[in-house]
């Protein structure tokens, strides 16, 4: 049972991936339910997206993103980088809606999506593979293990001189 199921699953994965090749990933019902229409509206068609380094331990000061002290000036994302980020956000495989980790939320990078007057902040923790979305009066936190590689590559591109960002590995130690 297990062997055949694994093979069938692999086939299903292949079919999904070839179908989606070159086409932006659309959010599944679960992702829509998690983020909600108002946050998704900003994330899917922003006017601009910027990234900042933040202090994982918090340290809220005048300059902070959702309570996490800013450690850099904002860096604007290119269209391709925005697309990478959007694909990770929209892809259900990024998330793990079944489990919650007992790891504190300790983000290193914050992305700010702006659309008109609306703003959505996305804080990303590379220690715990977690991210937090804040917008429309809501704060949502979820796992993002499935997108560690593209999210880490993106952060490394955006902050090439930051030692901490550059020292993160694709695979988590101990797992």
């Amino acid at each position: 049972m297990r062997f055949f199921s694994a093979a069938i699953l692999a086939m299903a994965m292949l079919n999904c991936q070839t179908t989606a090749k070159g086409v932006p990933v659309q959010p599944s019902a679960k992702v829509k339910e998690f983020l909600g229409d108002s946050i998704l509206g900003v994330l899917s068609a922003p006017d601009s997206v910027t990234a900042v380094l933040v202090e994982p331990r918090g340290g809220s000061t005048a300059d902070h993103m959702d309570g996490f002290k800013l450690l850099s000036k904002p860096v604007a994302l290119t269209a391709e980088q925005i697309s990478t980020l959007q694909n990770a956000i929209m892809d259900e495989k990024t998330y793990d809606f079944l489990h919650s980790k007992r790891h504190p939320f300790d983000p290193s990078v914050g992305f700010q999506f702006k659309k008109g007057k609306d703003t959505v902040n996305v804080l990303v923790s590379y220690y715990g593979n977690l991210w937090q979305f804040t917008g429309s009066g809501k704060t949502l936190i979820e796992d993002n293990d499935g997108a560690r590689k593209p999210l880490l590559n993106l952060a490394k591109q955006l902050f090439p001189k930051d030692k901490d960002i550059q020292s993160f590995k694709e695979t988590m130690e101990g797992q």
């Binding site: 069938i8 086939m11 007992r102 790891h103 704060t139 293990d145 988590m172 101990g174 797992q175």
Partner: protein, 383 residues
């Protein structure tokens, strides 16, 4: 003489009755992501403490520290305030977030307490409790043990067996020693389920089994409670709890990282073996499931064959390569299970072709694999 014996027996019974179970439960119940799970843990452990006390004859002195009072200062104060007698049992339980750093000197994680500093070392709690020198210390933590810094910046329940009331006494009154555990090994996450922490639930189940055993054993209880827990999270298939157990009132060496610490590795090895056996049992193929699965597999393989049209290219590392590699691995498992050299040869051919980025050769071998399963389908599944 008989009177003397009776007096000694009476004194012994009195001393047992005078023993106290000092239970301290600390839970981060207000956390947005795991609060409901830790609340379930808190309730489960409260109930268990009452059950242990009433069945073992110990007096229960329980303190619960939860949100909003929960923080590092109050947790430390509550630990320090425990005042056990030499024959008492102290049970510390924490359910909440946890982490470790590069500077962590022990294998135990830090509890994520926000005041006065982010972390309170689990090993610090063990040290304080150990110094109080009660007969038995049990300290369990259901928390992550994953890294949160960079180097440079700063058992199956015997459902039909009866609970043995005497087992509560054997485990919690008559045993002398130290029982320490946390939900995951260094570097790992611990996971919160809706009905409580994955480790807490496994520990409670293991306790339930020992309470029904003819001869309860802490060693067996902890070995079962710390078996790898299958999580199936994308990047962490299992959660592997850790523990230390010492019989007698000797100080347990818990202040060094794994390698040199006198942990119960042989027991863990045995546990690992038990898990392997269990896995083998679940992998036995059910004959009545063969035909529908075989039909589905054949359908998928044919679909794949049809999708690999001439002109498509594959390169190591691209999406198609990774997907076909996944297919190959799955088919390898199937061929290994069947042990048929003919199938194995074709599956090996798939891998070789993929490594050479040769889709034409891949399709050729795929055709052989399809043919093999079609024959199998005819043999096993035709009326």
């Amino acid at each position: 003489m008989k009177k003397i014996v009776a007096l000694i027996a009476f004194a012994f019974v009195c001393s047992l009755q005078a023993q106290t179970l000092h239970m301290l439960i600390v839970a981060d119940t207000a956390d947005a992501s795991i609060g409901s799970s830790t609340l379930a843990d808190l309730q489960n452990m409260q109930n268990k403490a009452r059950e242990i006390a009433s069945n073992s004859g110990m007096k229960l002195n329980m303190k619960v520290l939860k949100s909003p009072e929960f923080n590092g200062t109050t947790t430390l104060a509550a630990v320090q305030a425990i005042n056990p007698g030499p024959n008492d049992t102290v049970f510390f339980y924490y359910s909440g977030h946890g982490y470790r750093t590069r500077e962590s000197k022990t294998k135990w994680p830090n509890m994520y307490v926000k005041k006065p500093q982010p972390g309170l070392e689990f090993s610090k709690v063990l040290e304080i409790l150990d110094q109080k020198n009660p007969r038995l210390v049990i300290a369990l933590g259901d928390l992550c043990n994953s890294f949160s810094d960079q180097s440079e910046r700063s058992a199956n329940l015997r459902a039909f067996a009866e609970l043995q009331p005497s087992n509560y006494k054997k485990l919690f009154v008559e045993f002398s020693g130290r029982v320490y555990a946390s939900g995951s090994k260094p570097g790992q996450y611990s996971f919160a389920m809706e009905d409580g922490g994955a480790f807490t639930n496994q520990w409670l189940q293991a306790l339930g089994t020992e309470l029904r055993a003819e001869e309860p054993s802490w060693k067996r209880l902890m070995a079962v409670a710390t078996k790898p827990i299958r999580i199936g999270s994308p990047d962490q298939a299992t959660q592997d709890p850790i523990f230390e157990l010492k019989e007698g009132k000797q100080v347990v060496a818990h202040n060094t990282v794994d390698e040199n610490a006198p942990t119960i590795q042989p027991t863990n090895t045995v546990v690992q073996q038990e898990v392997t056996d269990a896995e083998e049992e679940t992998e036995e193929y059910q004959e009545d499931e063969l035909c529908p699965d075989l039909a589905e597999l054949l359908g998928s393989l044919k679909q794949l064959d049809g999708a690999l049209k001439p002109g498509i290219r594959v390169t190591r590392g691209d999406n198609l390569y990774n997907s076909l590699d996944t297919v190959n691995k799955a088919l390898s498992s199937v061929s290994e299970a069947y042990g048929d050299p003919k199938l194995q040869k074709s599956v090996t051919g798939l891998s070789t072709a993929l490594e050479a980025n040769n889709l034409q050769a891949y399709k050729k071998n795929l055709g052989r694999v399809i043919q093999y399963f079609e024959t199998l389908n005819q043999d096993k599944c035709s009326e």
